[in-house]
Subunit: 148 residues, 2 copies
């Protein structure tokens, strides 16, 4: 599957399966095998101060985690859920919401794949950053579980 | 202001200021001076498994925190933002999303009000639970800051 097709298919999957992502204008914008970037415009996601709503930022970080796992596993029978998360909000976002989900190191990822193949269940901790103008505005750590 | 009017006004304020809350069907359902309950239907908030989307649950918990602070402060010049949050997802939600935000003990609340009156800035940690059929499905702890 061409890269653009993969991004488009993942975006469509999100919109079909999680209707809130359509209302938010979420797009899976890029994936280079190490990092996924999930974006959304500010307009449907602003708060009472005209900056990005903390709840929308939390959603974006969660979605970057899901997208990373779906793209890594390439297995639509994998049911990915979130088990635990923590967020720190350092500064407001004034424009587009851009969540950068980073693949964990090769050892953790190999262990995750092996657990998933062998036990049909695997757990992984992922870090996501929401970045604007080179500054990390939000830091997210989430524990995700994939079950077949 | 009558109780129903206060709830309706707070719901309208949310819908106007944070458009995502309208897309999610969020309602401020009750407030007894100690606990606020914020609800949303499952339909616009389901995930790829047909249960409540983790991101929507995170939004509901954040909103219960905002609503509690707005209702406690009764001051629309107060700018409430979230600084930090942590969530634990214990079990899926299969029906309506109901977030219960509890006011902290009287001492913490008095200190928060005093700081806000004196320094025009105050910080408060709030706990929110999302409950279904008597079971706590999601636990949230958030640190909120109010600035005038």
């Amino acid at each position: 599957m061409a890269d653009d097709d993969l991004l488009r298919a993942t975006t469509e999957y999100l919109h079909e399966q999680i209707p809130l992502t359509r209302a938010m204008g979420v797009q899976v914008a890029s994936y280079d095998g190490r990092e996924v970037v999930v974006t959304a415009p500010l307009a449907p996601n602003h708060n009472h101060l005209g900056t990005a709503f903390g709840g929308s930022l939390s959603v974006m970080a969660t979605l970057a985690g899901y997208a990373l796992l779906w793209l890594e596993l390439r297995d639509r029978t994998a049911h990915v859920v979130i088990r635990r998360s923590s967020l720190q909000f350092h500064r407001p976002i004034r424009g587009e919401l851009r969540a950068h989900g980073r693949a964990p190191d090769a050892t953790a990822l190999a262990e995750f794949r092996e657990d998933f193949a062998r036990k049909a269940k695997a757990r992984l901790e992922l870090r996501v950053e929401i970045i604007e103008d080179g500054h990390v505005a939000v830091e997210f750590t989430g524990t995700f579980v994939a079950v077949r």
